[in-house]
Symmetry: none
Subunit: 229 residues, 4 copies
């Protein structure tokens, strides 16, 4: 009925059109209900044409995912290497959350289906995925190096809590169990990660000012009574 695509498009444009449509279909139907026929119809193209450019349905889906990851990685927000640890951690979590929320089905496909593919490690998306995880990991490692983050905890655990928490929220959202704010969630995640949920034990108000004052006084004390230490 609709014939959005002109006939006899150059290869690149046709491929792009199919990818674009496939992404929409994937988003709307989920990958269990993703039909090549629907992609063809919406794209104003025959099923045969799709198989001209993509070896299989799975191949098409993989290409869709790779495209999407590329956009994510190319994004100018992509990575921040400056700012405080907290800012950088928040930013990287916020980025992931907003992407997952924007394309939850795609995330799910990559996370649940694609990753189980025996051939996964040879796919380009494997490298893309590694890069995404690496961004989170880098922030945490930097924190460890600078001493701002404890170095006695497994990195993978932290990574799993971040992404696990994100996905959990998203799926609850997908099931219609209520919306959630990306900002608020990212704040919460960052906060819990950095401070834990335990009640503050130490001496919160004093720290910096106090320490500085003490340091100065000690210097003076040392001068006054050098032998007392």
């Amino acid at each position: 009925m609709a014939r959005p695509a002109t006939r006899r498009l150059p290869r690149d444009q046709r491929v792009a059109a199919i990818l674009q449509t496939a992404r929409v279909v994937l988003r709307e139907r989920g990958f269990e209900n993703f039909l090549t026929l629907e992609v063809a119809e919406r794209c104003g193209v025959s099923e045969g044409t799709i198989y001209k450019y993509f070896a299989s349905k799975r191949d098409l889906l993989i290409k869709v995912s790779e495209d999407w990851f590329d956009e994510f990685l190319d994004d100018d927000y992509a990575e921040r290497t400056s700012g405080s640890l907290r800012e950088r951690l928040f930013h990287v979590i916020w980025r992931s959350l907003s992407v997952v929320k924007r394309e939850p089905v795609l995330t799910r496909f990559v996370l649940l289906d694609l990753r189980s593919d025996p051939n996964y490690r040879n796919l380009r998306i494997y490298e893309q995925n590694r890069e995404i995880v690496a961004r989170v990991t880098r922030v945490i490692q930097d924190g460890m190096t600078s001493g701002e983050i404890r170095s006695d905890i497994p990195l993978t655990l932290v990574r799993d809590m971040v992404f696990g928490g994100i996905e959990h929220q998203t799926w609850a959202y997908l099931r219609g169990e209520g919306d959630f704010s990306v900002e608020v969630s990212a704040e919460g995640l960052t906060d819990v990660l950095l401070r834990g949920i335990g009640a503050p034990v130490e001496a919160p108000p004093a720290p910096d000012a106090l320490t500085q004052a003490v340091a100065r006084l000690e210097a003076i004390a040392d001068r006054l009574e050098p032998d007392q230490r």
Copy 2:
């Protein structure tokens, strides 16, 4: 192929046998590739027999899940209401982790497929699931009441981090990305949750040193200006 079951079993035993076999098939194949035919064959029974006892494939799958949840909930480890907050939190996380690790595909079925069922809220498994989540929630709420846990963070966020983290680890494990120890992971999760990943904020080492320094400075000050206090 196999004919492990005797012919003409009493109803209950046959039902149990089918459930048992179905659980194994589900575990091995995943629910997308779960075939009633395979259950029948492995069980040494015709497909008709399965449909004698279960209204549909989905119904069988639900029953399998419920059975499994029952085992989980009936377990004597089920819940601890005594002990320190940390012990209780660890225990509840450890329990969940070990169950998910033991039956990951079942977990996935319940989490991804069943929960989306429009009828989900009327299923027994809905209540069972609520109970499981409630156990985690109770520990955290008790902690808040006693002041051991900060009360300025959303419970759902913590819950999502716990279960999200657990699932993430399990799926990585399922994908063959390396094993993990339930104990170590539970320790890690509990630890990160309670303390956060932030480095010990000055206090722990500082308190003592600071107290000593201040004490010394006060002594000096007292000597220099005895009347100013």
Copy 3:
């Protein structure tokens, strides 16, 4: 669940109970959706027991029909051999209509399914059915003999109009296209059959001529014998 029938019933009572239940199921479900399992359950009996007494589902259904026909034929209203032709015709139509309306599904089974059975002519129900039709036929034949009914029309045609008309109304009623009164319908059918739908033909031409003639003769008579009126 229900266990309306006592265990170990004498053969006749058990057969009667099954027949009774089967009739109810047939009435409620229609013969396309008639399930032996449902009969067994409602009857508090196993499916095996049914097959003990009835060779097949079809056999059971035939027995149900025969039972029902027997009741119909034994009924004291069964046949009237006295009264006017119109009364007798009305009665026989009214009888059929009320039976069809009371057991429409059974009628349908006999009419549509059983009659097509290659073995139909050897069944008892074939004879029963002949008897029912014969009652209508007898009335019409008696009418022909007495000169009250035209003898130039095929009996089968009349019979088909009667039963066809009856069934048509019943099915419309079954489809929920409105109820109908047995009395009114029987009246209508009888009326149309006897008088046709054509407007009365005799009066129009005759009256005038006759009236005029009589008027003229009266005028003459008056003149001849003026005092006789």
Copy 4:
């Protein structure tokens, strides 16, 4: 088995071929025993192809019926609006009879199965069916208006007698209970409907006697007063 159809037919021709084959299968087997597999095989096509063009078995059956109704309605014999009432009534009955006789199983499907469909009123065939009934109804109403038909009888009753009678004859014929002539039956139905089965009423007992008496008296009158006529 048979491979009567060329491979790779254009859509329209394939659809037509399937419809044609389906009609034959429906005719031969009846709609309870209508198998998509048989249609496919006879058509030299896979079942998948059928489902390419028809959403379901039921949909196919409906399309077959609609096609057939279209033919019936488009026929040039379709309707006569001129001629005597008797001719018009005969024609409309004769038309219906010949169609039912030609495609009895299809008629049965429409009449018994389709009409019960909860969605029936939204189908095109509902309108088609209304039109067919309307043609009969129109003739009768015209007769009432012109005074040629009694207006004290319910139209629906007449309609049911016509169609009921038609169907009854056809099914008897289908069951092999003897052939019937469309012409003779149509004549008979028309005749009975218009005149009823009652003997001619015009000269009951009185008429003749009266007429004779009048005739005799008139003869006398003529003799007495010869000039008065």
